[in-house]
Amino acid sequence: MIHIGPYIEQFINWLTLNFAEFFNAVKYIVESVVNSVEFVFMYPPFYVIIALIALLSWKRSGLGLTVLSILGLMLIWAMGYWPQTMATLALILSAAFIALLIGIPLGIWAAKKPLAGKIMRPVLDLMQTMPAFVYLIPAVLFFGLGKVPGAFATVIFAMPPAVRLTSLGISQVPASIVEATRSFGATPGQLLFKVELPIALPTILAGVNQTIMMALSMVVISAMIAAGGLGEVVLKGITQLKIGVGFEGGIAVVILAIILDRITQSFGNVKKSNI
């Protein structure tokens, strides 16, 4: 019998003890990010937020999504889950933002340096296939209970698609275009920002979409460590065997997912049709 568990436990404990300052700083930053995003969504009355989301749907997609988002969000409000939905939305967007902030540069790095890419691939596989609940434990040890460990677990779970698709997008830029750019005396930075990133943008945006969707699924799970939001509603449904409450929370999650998915997808599509 081999016990890997104790070693991992020791390692996590060691991290918790020795990097307490660091984790506190991270906690402080993430908490303020999440809280300010939450404030933005919570402060205005619900109809203002619905109007803004409807407007965005109209601009990015069209009539269908606009009607769907107005009716869907109204339903959520009518069910009485508005604050939870906004809390969830804030947590998703903050976590996705952090995941992209780390994931996109990592993706670029992986595309540029084959060795970095090779090392990253198994790590990403691990991050994606590890049952999401497992992340909750070290998250609690590092950050205690609440939104921050929820965001932390979400970032880890949602980051791989951002890294993968950024890396894919960059390495798919035709070699002939890269060569032509170099032949005109582009610096590596100019090559990246003027050529590679713009051409890879549709693929990167697909990664953004994936990251947001994965963040959504993780945010529900992170209700188990008191991250709040719609996950809490669903969790209540499970623990108290209230099937109605569980489904109400679930429906709210689905509505949020559809709106987020369609809107973020539309960014990628528009870019593609330009090319």
Partner: protein
């Protein structure tokens, strides 16, 4: 490993590396249209990329204006690529997310030229290559020919000394290709750029090049003017290409000319003298020249015989002077109208002095036109053929 005298095949076997270019040494003059010709895999593209170090040469030098490019630092290399050399690619290498004008201004943008100035410069070259009206289009919407104009304009916008063109026209339809070739020749005449052009098509090489270098397996096989290569192929490899080339528009009178033809010299050779020359050479017509070799016309056997019957001594009355003459730089194509029924050779005279330089036999013209090689026709040498006809 090459220096140890190992062959390309041995090196491939031992290291898995292909020797792309070896021992390629040549000079390119300022303002020259220099063509590198070879089949795929001959190392021509690698050679071109060594010039701006898109591929780093493992050994050797690339010297531009007394500066060894292979020693430049990254900064200097970027500067050189921005200002001195610009490249045009077979697959265009345009930026799909940008409009035509933004593609053309791209090189200037990399140099941090202000927006207004670079737009203005880009517009100038867009007009130059005939792209006006397409400025705001996305490049993917354009035809191949138009895309390559964008590629050319992008290179010209930097105002480089040297244009590197990698099979720039190979991906285009034959008609468009010819048109682009003509435009490039005109552009080069007006802009006086040094052009290094790569092609696998000898016809194209000959049409464009001031000088051509032919490559095979990474080595230079022959360097010379188009005419050098057509008339004196260095080896069988080159001749196998040359055979397939349309020679009409390249071969000139000077290279076909038989230089010391038998002539009747007016005021020196009389009727008897001319007859004797005709008899000994077996010809029925001779070019007639004055004592200082000015071309006068042709004399024919039957006219001389008539004069002899009348008892005249000079050949003056037998000289047919309404004979069209050609100049040494005339091509076979230009001399075709000279082919006459009676098989008279074409006299080649000096444009200034009107002196007879030589003659071109009509058979030579016919052979060049039909593209058959000498050996296939008669098994004879050029000189013999000329004599037969004259």
């Amino acid at each position: 490993m090459l220096k140890q005298g190992k062959s390309k095949a041995t090196i491939l076997k031992e290291t898995g590396c292909t020797v792309a270019v070896k021992n390629a040494t040549f000079n390119i003059e300022k303002g020259e249209f220099f063509v590198i010709m070879g089949l795929s895999g001959s190392g021509k593209s690698s050679l071109l990329r060594c010039l701006n170090r898109l591929i780093e040469p493992t050994s050797g030098k690339v010297v531009l204006n007394d500066r060894d490019i292979t020693l430049l630092s990254d900064d200097k290399l970027q500067e050189m690529r921005r200002k001195e050399m610009a490249m045009v690619f077979q697959n265009f290498g345009l930026l799909p997310h940008r409009t035509v004008i933004d593609n053309v201004a791209f090189g200037l943008e990399l140099q941090h030229v202000p927006l207004e100035e670079r737009t203005q410069k880009a517009q100038e070259v867009i007009d130059l290559v005939g792209l006006n009206g397409y400025e705001k289009q996305h490049t993917a919407a354009l035809s191949g020919g138009m895309q390559q104009r964008v590629g050319l304009a992008r290179a010209l916008a930097n105002n480089p000394e040297i244009l590197l063109m990698d099979e720039a026209f190979s991906a285009l339809d034959p008609l468009i290709r010819t048109q682009m070739q003509d435009e490039l020749i005109d552009l080069q005449k007006t802009m006086q750029k040094t052009i290094v052009f790569i092609t696998h098509d000898l016809d194209e090489a000959i049409r464009l090049g001031d000088r051509i270098v032919i490559m095979k397996d990474g080595e230079v096989v022959q360097i010379g003017t188009p005419e050098d290569i057509l008339t004196n192929p260095a080896n069988d490899y080159v001749s196998s290409f040359v055979e397939k080339v349309d020679r009409k528009s390249i071969i000139t009178a000077a290279s076909l000319m038989f230089e010391k033809p038998t002539v009747a010299i007016f005021r020196k050779d009389g009727v008897e003298g001319s007859l004797r020359k005709m008899r000994s050479s077996g010809l029925i017509s001779l070019p007639a020249v004055s004592l200082d070799k000015h071309f006068l016309g042709f004399v024919y056997l039957k006219d001389i015989l008539e004069l002899k019957a009348k008892g005249e001594h000079t050949i003056e009355k037998a000289i047919m002077s309404d004979v069209p003459v050609a100049y040494p730089e005339y091509t076979v194509e230009q001399m075709l109208p000279f082919i006459a029924e009676n098989g008279r050779p074409v006299p080649i005279v000096d444009r200034q002095t009107n002196k007879l330089l030589g003659i071109v036999a009509q058979t030579s013209l016919l052979i060049e036109t039909t593209g058959t090689s000498w050996e296939n026709v008669t098994g004879n040498t050029i000189d013999n053929l000329q004599k037969e006809i004259i």
